[in-house]
Amino acid sequence: MIEFQNLKKVYESGGQQVHALNGIDLKINKGEIFGVIGFSGAGKSSLIRCVNLLERPTSGKVIVDGHELTSLSVKEVREIKKNIGMVFQHFNLLNSKTVFANVAMPLTLAKLPKEQIKKRVLELLEFVGLEDKADNYPDQLSGGQKQRIGIARALATQPSILLCDEATSALDPQTTSSILQLLKKINKEYNITILIITHEMSVIREICDKVAVIEGGEIIEEGSVFDVFSSPKTQTAKNFVSTVMNDQLPDSINELIQKHKGKQKIFRINFVGNSAGQPLLSELAKKFDIDINVLFGNITELQGTPFGNLIVEFQGTDEEIKKVLAYVNEKNISIKEVIAHAS
C-alpha cells in the first residue's frame, strides 16, 4: 500500500520557487494497478520519485506498507527500497554488464550467495521470456527487450511494489502493448502493487484499475478507470479521454446536421456497461414505426466492460420518436438530441 498525505515538493531554481507537488493526497491499495496521468511538468515524475525517496518531499508524508518514509534513517530507507522495484523510461541498464549481471545487480548488492543469485536470475529471465539473452549486452537488445530486462531487474528482490516511470513511452505501440501485458501478468501472478505514471491514456486504458489525473502538482480527478473514462469531470481528463476515445462528431456529420437544421432527428446514445450488450437498435426498429440510420459510432472496452456511444438518426413521426425516447430512458440508457456543433 502506498499513501501520500498532503505531499508537497518545492524546488529552488535560480532563486525562484517551483512547486512541483502541491499537496497530494492519494491512496493506492495493495494489488492495484494505479495509473497517474498528466502532461509533462505536471509533477508526476516527482510524485513517483517520492515513493522511494529518489526525491525527498518538502513536506507531507509518504507511507509505504505502513512505514512513514521521511521519518526513517537512510539505512532503513535502503532496506525499504529493496521492497520497491522501479522501471524507467530509458531502461537505465548498465551497458558495461551482461544481461545476467544487470538482472543480478540488486541481489549482488544484497550480497546473496552466488548459487542463489544464479537460480533467481535464470528464473526471472525465463519469466520475461529472454532466457537466451543472459550473456548478451544491453546494446545488443531491442527497446522492448531492454525494458523486459529492466522489469526482470526490478523484480529480482521480490518487491511488493513496482514503480513504472513512463515505462513504455520510449517504445513503439506494439512493444508497448506486450510490455503492458507483462506488467499485467506480474500484477496477477505476484499480486504486486503497480504504480504507473504516463502521459499516454492508452496505457491507462489497457491495464490500470484506477487512475488519477495530475495537473499543476495537484490531483484534479481520481477514480476507477471506468468512471473517469465514461464521465470525465475536468477538461484535462476530457482531453486525455478523447485522445483514445474519439467522441467528437466528425466534421461531415456536423455539416449534415447544420444543413438540415431541425428537419432531422439526430441523437447520441451512450452505452455504458451492461447496456452496451443489449440489442437496443434492432429492438427499437421492431417495436416502433421508425427507421434508424447509424451515422457514427465508437465502442470500446474498458476493464472488460464495453463502453461507447452511437450517433443515430431516427426517421419517423414526432410522436413515434417521443415514444422511442421514453422507452430508451426507461431502460436507463442515456440518450440526447444532438444539435449542430454540439459534441
Binding site: 522511494n52 529518489l54 530507507v77 535502503r78 532496506e79 525499504i80 527500497k81 529493496k82 520497491i84 522501479m86 524507467f88 530509458h90 531502461f91 537505465n92 541498464l93 548498465l94 551497458n95 558495461s96 554488464k97 545487480m105 540488486p106 549482488t108 548488492l109 549486452y137 546494446d139 531487474r153 528482490t157 514503480l163
Partner: protein, 216 residues
Amino acid sequence: MLVNSEQIIEAIIETIQMVSFSLLFSAILGIPLGILLVVTRKGHLLENVVIFNVLNGIINIFRSVPFIILLVAMIPVTRFIVGSSIGTAAAVVPLVFYAGPYIARLVENSLLEVDPGVLEAAEAMGATPWQVISKFLLPEALSSLVLALTIATIGLVGASAMAGAVGGGGIGDLAITYGYQRFDTITMFITVAILIVIVQGLQSLGNILAKKIRRR
C-alpha cells in the same frame, strides 16, 4: 653523433621508470580526487559544497602552474620526500604534482559522462554510496577512464622530458644536453623519433584496451 646506443637505451629505461612511477602515484592520487570531485558536487551522491570547492580550488591552482615552474618550485618538497633534488626518483615528485590534478580532472570528466539514469537506478535499488561508485559509476566509465589515463600517460612522457632537463635523466635530458646544447642534430632526431614511437604505442595500446572494454 655524440651519444652511443647504450646511452640511448639507458635514457629510454629512465624515461620508462619516470613515467611509470609517476603514473602510478598520480593515479593513486588523481583517481580518488576525481571521484570526490564528482560525488561531492551539487545534487550528487555525497553532495558536500565545502569539500567540492576546496578540492576544485586546489586542483585549479596546481593546474595553472606551468610544469617548468612547478618543477623548480617543488624542489624543497622533493628534497624532503626523496632526500635529493637530482635524479630519476627526484623527478617523480614534481611529475606527480603535475599529473595527479590532471588525472583528477580527466577522471571527473569521464565519470560525469555516465548516464545519470543508471545512478538513479542504483539508488532505487538501495545501493550504498560506495556500491554506487564501485558497481555502477566506475564500471560504466571504465572504457573512458582508460582513454583518460592514456592521455595522462602521454602528458607524462612529455613532462618527463622537461624533468630530465633538471637532472632527471631520460630521453628528454639526452635531447637537451646533446641535441640542443651541443648542436647534435642526429641525436635530436633520434630522441624525437623515439618519443614519437613511445607516444604512438601508448595511444594505440590505450585505444585497443578501451575498445576491448567497450566490446564494440
